[in-house]
Amino acid sequence: MLHTFAVYVDNKPGVLNRVASLVRRRAFNIESLTVGHTETAGVSRMTVVVDTDEYGARRLEAHLHKVVPVRRVDNITASPSISRDLALIKVAATGDARAHVMQLVDVYRARIIDVSPESLVIETTGTEDKIDSLLEVLRPYGVMEMVRTGRIAMARGTGTPDKAAHGSAPAATPAGSDDVSHGSV
């Protein structure tokens, strides 16, 4: 089954590579992997979705925690959580088709963010299911291009990932760090 991990990492060059390399060499299948800044300066958050069993999930969690710049790992598969995916979809739409597509966009509460004589670009966020479904109904009109972020996820309610991400100060940038000065994962 799919397991979703929220992984808090020091925002240093090479961290993404370390995590991706770990998942690859331990022969796990990545369903999706996203990364971005968090509310804490210097800390980034990855959402890693992996297809494995319960034992595999535990092992991967343990392995992730051994990566030095990883500050915290939460398996949020079982906890109530919200997950979202964002997609940009370019659809060929002229004449009548254009009106149909715009109706569908309304139904799905998506937005049109670019219009050209031959095409529309649709922006949508939601669960992966919802986006898959929108994609399905747009396909007959001609999907010319699509890009998706992959899943990001967050536990519901007040269960904040305290300790690592906030408390124990960002290690005063253990300067040895990975590399030079700038850049992010």
Partner: protein, 568 residues
């Protein structure tokens, strides 16, 4: 007072308690080498950077301290890869420092530039690319902390030449590492020590499986206490040898592919396995589908990622072994398990009769004879460093190690060429110890250049080459599983005696059993290194053997022909 980056390297190492380093200079590490002369550190000049990493590894395994290896960029760094991987697989704490081209030219394919942090990413616990002098001390301090903490392992610090040349003030207090705390919070589903103790107290046929972790944790005494209090026999892994005295009545000896058959039978018949600091390697379990089906299982390992990896267990505890056992001990009931011990005794069958120690001498020289004699003549007190192959298994079977950290061998990666350099490291770490290399003629030829290191450093390391003219273990597999088609295993070596003498090392060849004792005693008496070329039976095989992937209880036993040959 500002220091150069090069000085900071040595200052940091000295502050970490480093007294010896193994290295090889080159362009990108030259500033560091120049600064070295001002610091109280012994530098052992190796002949190949792979040797430097094995030496650091042997140093670490013999002493429990962190071993340090140094090399230049490019080929110097890539030559370290095998040694780093070896240390990774066997959880050996080493820190490798490499020079790197100037930070301004990184990425330009400069002379001797290689992305060594990229290359070593999967085979280090962590690595660092340092491009500024002020980042050197924090990186080295953190590298030592990472190498030693939790499950130990190798760490690499790659330092650009301009970082070594630049100067800065160092705030040593601020350089102390700020690592995220160890991952010791319990997770849902974690085993509870009370469950472990309940299983132990209720077991009728329990067996302790002891691995490398008992030494890494320093839990030798605790494991023995548990065994003695509850009357539980112990089987050890290859890397667990020495952690429990071989002469202890509860120590059954090595398990697995080349363990004694009765030990493996005991595992298959046990109703409880207590796995301590071991990782159910495939060489230990054989076919997982038929492995210890009658047994409940408790697994304690400091690395949570090892739990439920190969073998599903009933109680999985992610904890340092020593405190874990201390927690159990007050609750473990003393037990009388004589019936179980007698059952195990019964499983031995006629194995003792077939054992080469009990066979009369027929003049032929068997490797097992050599090892057995070496054990006897050294009083079991030597630090023996083995390579990989048949001799490694014979050593494990016939040298009875009573002391912790007295067998050093490449287990997980199985690195041929490990023994000679690792023994040099062990000797540097423990100059008062009697150190013996036991290696095959194949593995010896992989790193024999380090004989020159022995000479230059004036080290008393004795080398026993078990010379059978074959890549013996591969030949054995060809004999058993490939219809004796000996593809690329017959091996012509040099005259090892002359070779050693060319290096300025005493050497002697032995082809009769009657000559073994004199050769070994001669080597022991001399205060210099000695190489002994033991020319043993060429097509001898290691028994018993569980073929790879076969059921653990289906072993190939010592065949009667050997009994007859040796008895005739």
């Amino acid at each position: 007072m500002p220091l150069t980056g090069a000085q900071i390297i040595w200052d940091s190492l000295v502050r970490q308690g480093v007294t010896d380093v193994f290295g090889y200079p080159g362009g990108a590490i030259l500033p560091a080498y120049d600064a070295m002369l001002g610091y109280p550190v012994r530098h052992i000049l190796v002949r190949h950077e792979q040797g430097a990493t094995h030496m650091a590894d042997g140093y670490a395994r013999a002493s429990g301290r962190v071993g340090v290896a140094i090399a230049t960029s490019g080929p110097g760094a890539t030559n370290m890869v095998t040694g780093i991987a070896t240390a990774m697989m066997d959880s050996s704490p080493i820190v490798c420092i490499t020079g790197q081209v100037g930070s301004k030219v990184i990425g330009s394919d400069a002379f001797q530039e290689i992305d060594i942090t990229g290359i070593t990413l999967p085979i280090t616990k962590h690595n660092y690319l340092v491009t500024r002098a002020q980042d050197i001390a924090p990186a080295i301090f953190e590298a030592f902390a990472v190498a030693k903490s939790g499950r130990p392992g190798p760490v690499l610090v790659d330092i650009t030449k301009d970082a070594q040349q630049a100067s800065c003030e160092v705030d040593w207090a601020a350089a102390e590492p700020h690592l995220v705390e160890a991952y010791d919070e319990a997770l849902p589903g974690d085993g509870d020590y009370r469950d472990a103790v309940a299983l132990i107290n209720n077991a009728e046929r329990p067996l302790i499986l002891a691995g490398h972790g008992i030494m890494q944790s320093g839990a030798e005494r605790e494991v023995l206490q548990l065994a003695e209090r509850a009357g539980i026999p112990i089987a050890v892994t290859l890397l667990g040898i020495g952690g429990i005295p071989a002469s202890h009545p509860l120590n059954l000896g090595m398990m697995g592919m080349h363990g004694e058959a009765f030990v493996n039978h005991a595992i298959q018949q046990a109703d409880l396995l207590i796995a301590l600091g071991m990782r159910f390697d495939d060489r230990v379990t054989g076919n997982l589908k038929t492995y210890a089906l009658n047994a409940k299982k408790i697994h304690v390992d400091i690395d949570r990622a090892e739990l439920n990896k190969n073998v599903r267990v009933d109680v999985a505890i992610a904890k340092d072994l020593k405190p874990a056992l201390a927690e159990w001990m007050p609750h473990v009931k003393s037990g009388d398990r004589r019936a179980w011990l007698e059952t195990i005794d019964g499983l031995k069958g006629d194995s003792a009769v077939r054992d080469i120690q009990n066979l009369p001498d027929n003049g032929h020289l068997y490797a097992a004879h050599v090892i057995n004699d070496l054990w006897r003549l050294t009083g079991g007190d030597a630090v023996v460093v083995t390579d990989v192959g048949q001799h490694q298994m014979w050593e494990a079977q016939y040298y009875k190690h009573d002391k912790s950290r007295s067998l050093i061998t490449s287990g997980g990666l199985g690195t041929m060429g490990f023994a000679l350099p690792a023994a040099i490291g062990a000797k540097v770490a423990r100059p008062d110890a009697e150190v013996w290399v036991v290696c095959g003629d194949g593995g010896f030829q992989m790193t024999m250049c380090e004989l020159a290191t022995i000479v230059q450093e004036g080290l008393d390391v004795n080398v026993a080459i078990i010379n059978n003219g074959y890549l013996g273990m591969v030949r054995q597999w060809q004999e058993f599983f490939y219809e004796k088609r000996y593809a690329a295993t017959p091996l012509i070596g040099p005259d090892f005696t002359k070779l050693a003498q060319a290096f300025g090392i005493d050497a002697v060849a032995v082809s009769q059993r009657s000559e073994v004792a004199a050769a070994v005693q001669g080597a022991r008496k001399s205060r210099r290194a000695t190489v002994i070329d033991f020319q043993v039976e060429q097509e001898d095989s290691v028994f018993p053997m569980v073929p790879a992937g076969a059921d653990l209880h289906k072993m190939i036993l010592r065949p009667s022909p050997i009994v007859e040959t040796a008895a005739d």
